[in-house]
Amino acid sequence: MPVNYYIFLSAALFCIGIMGVLTRRNAIVIFMCVELMLNAVNLLLVAFSKMHHLRALATDAQTTVGTDAQLFVFFIMVVAAAEVSVGLAIIVMMYRNIHSVDVNFLNRLKH
């Protein structure tokens, strides 16, 4: 499959994520949209990595060029999972304090 498809797909996912962050007020939904953006980028990373790997294979069957990013994606996922746990904990704390997950209530820094 041409790499263009992956680019368009991840661009679409990323835009969806941005629109979600911008338009929604629910902290959990915003959080999910942020994850969506993160994974759109992840997807793009894997796609480019695969593309480079295929290029390199054409000249040398034993090459490992382009495989490292595919591994790297797993690390990103692990970090993202850790981040999610922290983020969700924050949202829980927020709900406990103000009984809402609406981010528009979180404008106290202004004052």
Binding site: V21, L22, T23, V103, N104, L106, N107, R108, K110, H111
Partner: protein, 634 residues
Amino acid sequence: MMKLIYWVPLLPLLGFLVNGMGRRKLSKSAVSLIGCGTVLVSFLISILIFLEVKAPGFQAHPFELFPFIRAGNLNISFSFLVDQLSVLFLLIITGVGTLIHIYSTAYMKEEEGPHYARYFAYLNLFVFSMLLLVLGSNYVVMFMGWEGVGLCSYLLIGYWFKNGEYNDAAKKAFIMNRIGDLGFLLAIFWMIGQYGSVNFSDVFSRAPETSLTVVTGITLLLFIGATGKSAQIPLYTWLPDAMAGPTPVSALIHAATMVTAGIYMIARSNILFTLAPLSQHVVAVVGLVTALFAATIALKQNDIKKVLAYSTVSQLGYMFLGLGVGAYTGAVFHVMTHAFFKALLFLGAGSVIHAMHHEQDIRNMGGLRRYLPVTHLTFLIGCLAIAGIPPFSGFFSKDEILAAALVKSPLYYVFGVIGALMTAFYMFRLYALTFRGKFRGTHDQEHHLKESPSAMTVPLIVLAILAAVSGFLGVPEIFAPDAHWLHHFLSPIFEDSMQIAGPSMEMGHGTELALMFGVVAAIALVIVWAWRTYSRYEKSDAAETGLGKVLQDKWYVDEIYDAVVSRPLKSLSIFLDDVVERSGIDGIVNGVGRVVQYGSRQFRLLQSGQVGSYILIMVIATVLFFILQLFWKF
């Protein structure tokens, strides 16, 4: 004996420090003892040094105290030069200075303790500065003394600092001097650039090799310095105002120190001036014009000290005329005789003022000869000396300058004689108004009139003797060949200049004698005229009119300076204050503040606290960067 030279300036400095610091603790008699004693000991040491210098086979060489400034190739040492010229000035300064100190002990008796000590401390500092000035073996040490003298004149003229006018006079003296000092300073810099040294010996030996323009430039700048300190046109106006100080201070400024500094400096630099004929002409013309100009003003002044002040300016003009026509010995001779008779006249005036309880207007005096016999007699001798009646000292010195002027140009001579006639007139007008006729003051004043104490009359008598006989140090050749002692004494200083200038034309002895007697006769006539006119003076309220008023108002020079210099400067500063400072610079500073305040008030609105709006801005900015990146390749 030469080793003692350090003590000559050091003693007055010590006196200054002790009196200045202990002014609250020392008793008045202790202060007087320290003040007079230090200067007296300096005078005695000066006599010893003088005897050594006078001895045959004396060779002048500088005494280095310590290296003063060292920068690159420039070495300026703090060193003294003792030779015939400086030792002569040492004697004048310390000798006349001692008499003035002694006189001051009586004149300033009514001052309170600390102020009395302050007065003597300043007086000692004044003498110290002047000694430093004449002892320095290079222009930098001379300049230090030069500045010190200016400072002390400021301090002493403004001695009664509670009077605003006196403070103004002090400031005027200081500022006028500063203008001149700038010329001197520039000359020093030029010398350093040109000769790489400020030592007299180096500068004088290298001067003949340099171009005429450079020497002319340096000498003209030096002369600007001299006009400031020695009160010549255009910087003379401070000297008459300097009368604000106590009278002994006026005597010190006018006779022994300060105003002779410019003469000394030019006499010291005689080789430079001889090499630059243009500068010599400038010096002579300025001196002559000042002599005449000041004499005309003195004709109509009514303040006893103002008359003397203008006569000083006029006599200094004669000295500059002498320097300008190459009669260096004559100029130094006149400095010496002038120091004696002008100190005498000022101290005499002080005695009169003392007796009259601070009355200075001669229209309110008259007939004082009955009450103040000693003052009267000594004052008369001073007047005869300054008018140039033989055998008093002024005759010899003034005659020498006039003779040299005649050799240079008859025009100088004619104007010089006119000035001398005016001198005789105003001095005897002053004398007759003060001592002759009948008393015109109040009864109260008349009741209290009595001769001053001996601390004041003894210096007067000593000075009167000096003023009467000191002229015989320079008897003209026509009376007795080789009788001009001063000429021989000073010849090592001026011999190089004489060689450069070449032999001057000699007048026939017959002409010289005829002119001399003619002038003396004319002066005698003028004296009789002034004497007769003003002995019969009656006080009248009629104001002066026409030329008399112009002269009384000093040719309006102060007003002209005010209009030409002071007022434009003042309006310029008002303009700078109102427009540039307040509107311009303040506007910029306040404007920056206002812009920042306004801007921050507007930017504050962006901080809405809405997380969504922050993210929106972030996204828009990112998109903008993408678009920018599309159109511009960095």
